[in-house]
Symmetry: C2
Subunit: 220 residues, 2 copies
Amino acid sequence: MSAPSDKSPESGPNDVPKAVVSRLSLYLRELQHLLHDGSRTTSSTQLGSLLGLTDAQVRKDLAYFGQFGHPGIGYHCDELVREIKQILGTNHPWPVALVGVGNLGRALLGHRGFSHQGFQVVAAFDVDPTKVGRKIIGIPVYGLDELPRVVKEKGIRLGIVAVPPTSAQEAADRLVAAGVDGVLNFASVTLTLPKNVSTVGVDLAMELEQLAFAVANRRE
Amino acid sequence: MSAPSDKSPESGPNDVPKAVVSRLSLYLRELQHLLHDGSRTTSSTQLGSLLGLTDAQVRKDLAYFGQFGHPGIGYHCDELVREIKQILGTNHPWPVALVGVGNLGRALLGHRGFSHQGFQVVAAFDVDPTKVGRKIIGIPVYGLDELPRVVKEKGIRLGIVAVPPTSAQEAADRLVAAGVDGVLNFASVTLTLPKNVSTVGVDLAMELEQLAFAVANRRE
DNA sequence: CTATGTGAAGTGTTTCACAGCC
DNA sequence: GGCTGTGAAACACTTCACATAG
C-alpha cells in the first residue's frame, strides 16, 4: 500500500501550485499562436523555448492534469488547447460585470483579448448618473443598485473593479453581495473579501516598479 | 572559514528572489496607505496581516536589503517608504514612452497610479497619422520614426507597448532600437528581446483566466 | 514585554535523468 | 532517431524559534 491513494477522490485538482496554473495560461496563448501559424503539433521543447522555460517544466506542469502527450510525436495543438481550456474552465463563456466606467473601465469594455478567451463583459456599473442608462460599445451601463438584479439575471460570476482606490473596497463588497464569486481588482489596494471569493489584483504601477527595479539593477 | 564569503563584493543586490521584489511593491503601497491614514509606525506583524503574509516573511524580505527596523518599536513608515523607493529605484522620477494610443493606451496615458509612483508618460507614439501631432491629456503623440530622437532627448529608459498583438514585437523592437532598457508589454504575446533589456508582461485575459480557474475549482 | 534579524528546519518547486513508447 | 511521463536529486523559498535590542 505504498501508493499515494489519496490522490484526489473526485475529479478536482487536488493542490496545484499557483505558478503552474499561470503557466497554463501561457501555454494556451502560445498554442493558439502556433495553431494560427499553421502548426498542428508541438513538443515540450518547442513550447518551452518559446516561453523561456525548460522542456521538463512544461511536461511536469501538464502532468498535473493528465497525460496529453504522444511519445515520439509531442502534443497535438488543438487537442492541448481544448484540454487546457477545460482545466481553466474557459471551454464555455463567462459573462463578466465591470464596475467603474472611467478611463480604464472603458478600455476594458472594448478589450478584444477578453472575448477572444471567452470572457464577455455583459454589464457595466457606475455611480455617475450621467453615464447610467447609456450604452458604451454596445454594453449597457447601470447604477450600482441594480447590481444584484443584473448579476442574477445574466448569471454573472466574475466582476472587474476599475474604480479609484478609495471606492474599490466598497465596489468589491457590492459585487460580492450581488453574488459574484471572483473579483479582478485594478485598484491599488488589497481587498478584504470573504475567503469563498477569489481575488486577483493587477496594479499597473507595481508592474512598472518591477520593471524599474530590473532596469536599475542590471549588470551591477 | 565556514562563512560564505562570496556574499556580494559590491553593493548590488546579489540574487534577490523575484517574489521578494514584487512583495516590496506591495509593502510600499501598504505603507503609503498607512501613512495617509496617519500611522507613523508599523510592525512586520501588522504589515503582514494587512497583506496576508506572515510576519517572518516581511522581516526576511526586508532583511535582503538592510536593517530598517527598530527592535521593540517596529518600522517607521516614512523611513521604510524612502528605503523601499531607493531599492526599487523610484526615489527619482522615470520618464516613460508609450507606444499605441488605442483604447488601452489612452487609459494608460491618464492613469493616476503611474505618476503617483514616480512614472511620467512623457511621450506617446502611434502609426495612425490622424493621431500624430495631436496632444492627448497633455501628452504629445509622435510618429514611430521619431522614437529614437524623442527617447534620447527626454532621457527615456522605459517603454510601454499597448498595440495589437501582431504589432507588438515590432513596437518593442523599435523601442529597444531607440535605446529603451525596459519594456512593459500589454499585448498577448511573449516578446523576444535582447537579454540586456528587461521585460514585464501583463495579459489582462490571462488574469481573468486565473480568476476563472480559481472560481471553477473552489471547494470541490 | 514588544519587536527585529537570522541561522536552522521544513516545505515546495524545478531540474535531472532515464524507462517506456512511437 | 525523437518524445513523453515520472521518481529522485537539487535547489529555492518560507516558516520556525530564539538570541538580541529597546
